[in-house]
């Protein structure tokens, strides 16, 4: 029965595809996502939305349409959210066969690589809207993939620059057990070396609190965090907990009164709810109106991806996917994404250069790069992996 249903859906999906052969004036964009099986975060205040990413793409589509009206260009967004990796690869092949060349993806690293290496992907422009994995910008980089969100290296550098400016140079690093947490912690370690921040202790978080929301559960958490941080002299606790499993438990409970930063507390991020500078209020308002919820960094990544395709189509004056793909990497390409600066792709690894916000749940604290961190080409390149140190080898 579910198999039949899926088959029927696939047939309907095929029938609904407009062959972009008539695409002289239409820019066809396909959005490929993996239906998220997200676990609930620690706090039930912020339930993970089911349409995260997609809503950002839809908003950018509307923006592109408005601009396209004046240039006799229209945009079409084909949404394919699949339950598993196989489904994603099949959808990609199906769409590529139907003529799609512009892809926006919300996929984990391994699946993204599988997809990018398919023969059907050779002519494609794949815009990775949501990953932060450094390996996709390093040894696993691909010439047909561009990355919109800041990498973990950029996020960590944004935070370490701020700590350096504040002279909070001794950190306690606390990393969760998940591979993503380890990757985040690795980025912090690398960045700490780069900006001469001392990791006074590097501790894994292994405590499983069990039923923490039961009555009096908070005593156990408080006691554990106090014990965990006892006898360590540090300025800031930096936590690596990407899935929100324990990071919020670390604030206010340590032995010494020290702020928490990293994946919780003061967080380096591409987008944050309190952000309203450089016209950001407008994007927040339009998104709220459309989606009925706040924009997340993943929504923002997808918004930037679809807008980048729109910008390339507008500036190149073309709907030809090859021209759009080339323009994305052209030095003249620039994306305005409510960060003041113009954003461009780094030619050495396909990463979008961008300022990184430092915010907590209710206020924007700072924006990196911090003043004073100089660079011969662009101050934005003080964040993340610079050209001389890249291990990406594009053919």
């Amino acid at each position: 029965m579910p198999g039949l249903c899926r088959l029927a859906l696939a047939v309907i999906a095929l029938a609904a595809l407009v062959p972009p052969a008539a695409a002289q004036t239409t820019i066809d964009i396909a959005y490929l996502g993996l239906a998220a099986k997200r676990t609930l975060p620690l706090s039930y205040l912020d339930q993970p939305p089911t349409d995260e990413g997609l809503q950002g793409a839809r908003l950018a589509l509307a923006d592109n349409q408005t601009t396209g009206r004046f240039l006799q260009q229209t945009y079409h967004l084909e949404e394919a959210i699949e339950p598993d990796g196989e489904g994603v690869l099949a959808a990609f092949k199906r769409l590529a066969a139907a003529g799609y060349r512009n892809f926006v993806t919300d996929l984990p690293a391994a699946l993204l690589l599988q997809l990018a290496d398919l023969p059907e992907a050779r002519e494609a422009a794949i815009l990775d809207a949501t990953s932060t994995d450094d390996r996709l910008r390093a040894e696993d980089c691909r010439p047909n993939v561009l990355h919109l969100l800041p990498s973990r290296a950029m996020l960590a550098d944004a935070l370490m620059q701020y700590l350096a400016v504040k002279q909070w140079r001794r950190i306690l690093l606390v990393a969760g057990p998940e591979p993503a947490d380890q990757a985040y912690a690795d980025a912090v370690r690398r960045s700490a070396r780069k900006f001469q921040i001392r990791i006074v202790e590097d501790k894994p978080w292994t405590y499983d609190p069990g039923a923490r929301r039961t009555d009096t559960g908070h005593y156990a958490i408080e006691a554990e965090v106090a014990r965990f941080t006892q006898g360590i002299s540090y300025d800031v606790l930096v936590v690596a907990d990407e899935a929100d499993n324990f990071g919020d438990d670390l604030g206010y409970r340590a032995t010494d009164p020290r702020p928490v930063a990293g994946t919780q507390g003061l967080t380096p991020t591409a987008w944050a709810r309190p952000f309203e500078q450089w016209g950001g209020t407008q994007l927040q308002n339009r998104f709220l109106k459309q989606a009925g919820r706040w924009m997340t960094d993943r929504d923002y990544g997808a918004w930037m991806a679809v807008r980048a395709l729109g910008e390339a189509a507008t500036r190149s004056g073309s709907t030809d996917p090859a021209k759009i793909r080339d323009y994305l990497r052209d030095p003249a390409f620039e994306l305005a994404a409510f960060k003041g600066a113009r954003l461009t792709f780094r030619p050495w690894d396909g990463q979008l250069r961008q300022p990184v916000l430092l915010a907590d749940a209710r206020s924007l604290v700072s924006v990196s790069p911090q003043p004073g961190f100089l660079h011969e080409v662009s101050e934005l390149d003080t964040l993340g992996i610079d050209r001389p140190e890249t291990s990406c080898r594009m053919p």
Partner: protein
């Protein structure tokens, strides 16, 4: 003794003359404070701080110079500030989220950019109602009307275009693609050109009014200032089109440009995040609003020097000189 007397009399006469020339007021909208600061044009002292509606941004003087129209963006309407009594006497509809507007030369119509819904609203001031809406690009912002009132130029920030609108038919007659995030559109007095600043692109496009072609793009480079912080917004052009001034946002400078050769002559250091500009009536001074340092800088146009800064409200945005 007679000499001294004459000198004193001459000085008094000069003072009178000066105060005659500067018997004007400066009006500054403060986006975060929900106020308009009124400053005496001669003494540069703050005369009064007037509470207005939520998030005042664009301001423009009525043709008879008796009122100030204020875009109170978050109140979703336009307020009319009576300059004799310094009280808000009337509100006008604006469409959602009005940011900037411009007045037709006959003083009868306001053209309002509605940032949230990609429209320009046409407001009949006497009737107090919106008579037409014109669809433009994403996040309409800058508004410039030709001296004869026939062509309205609107910029849209995310679409990155200057839209040329025929004010008789309300049709968009041309779209000029400029650099990213265009903010201000300013006509030259001779109606030959429109200057459009692009905040993120970091340039000013000079557009030929007749052909709609970009004549040149002015770029800025300041030693020691990262290119990313050079964000052009406000533009002021002298009536003879000899010189232009461009506010460069977080670069905290105003560029002085030879408007004939388009060469940048000088950068003047002003307050932080310099936003909009206005000349005094005699053209001898240029005033700037500085959004982050919450003040106004005063530039001596002849000497090309910053001579004073005047504290105003929080996040000063627009500035208008009233007689």
């Amino acid at each position: 003794m007679p000499h001294a007397l004459i000198r004193a009399a001459a000085a008094a006469a000069c003072l009178l003359l000066v105060s005659g020339a500067r018997a004007e007021h400066l009006l500054v909208s403060n986006e975060k404070d929900n106020t308009v600061t009124v400053i005496d044009g001669e003494s540069l002292a703050v005369v009064k701080t007037v509470p207005v509606g939520a998030r005042p941004r664009g301001i423009v003087l009525s043709k008879d110079a008796k009122s100030l129209y204020i875009c109170t963006s978050d109140a979703d309407h336009i307020e009319v500030l009576d300059l004799a009594t310094l009280t808000v006497t009337r509100t006008l509809p604006s469409g959602p989220d009005p940011e900037l507007f411009t007045l037709s030369p006959d003083g009868a119509t306001l053209y309002v950019s509605n940032e949230d819904d990609n429209m320009v609203s046409v407001l009949d001031i006497a009737a107090g109602r919106i008579v037409s809406e014109i669809a433009v690009g994403v996040e309409p912002e800058g508004m410039g009307i030709s001296p004869d009132g026939k062509i309205l130029v609107n910029t849209s920030e995310t679409t990155s275009m200057a839209h040329f609108i025929d004010t008789a038919t309300h049709q968009v007659v041309a779209n000029v693609l400029v650099d990213s995030r265009p903010r201000v559109a300013k006509w030259t007095k001779d109606a030959a050109q429109i200057w459009v600043s692009a905040e993120v692109g970091g340039t000013v496009s000079v557009i030929d009014a007749a052909s709609h072609q970009i004549v040149t793009k002015i770029r800025f480079q300041i030693p020691g200032v990262p290119a990313e912080s050079i964000q052009p917004v406000g533009i002021a052009l002298t009536d003879d089109r000899k010189r232009a001034f461009v506010a460069l946002g977080p670069a905290n400078r105003v560029a002085v440009i030879d408007a004939q050769s388009f060469a940048v002559e000088k950068y003047l250091l002003v307050g932080q995040r310099v936003w909009n500009l206005a000349f005094s009536a005699d053209g001898k001074r240029l005033y700037t609003t500085n959004g982050v340092s919450n003040d106004m800088s005063v530039i001596d146009v002849g000497a090309l020097e910053v001579v004073k800064s005047v504290p105003v409200g929080r996040l000063p945005w627009g500035i208008v000189v009233a007689p």
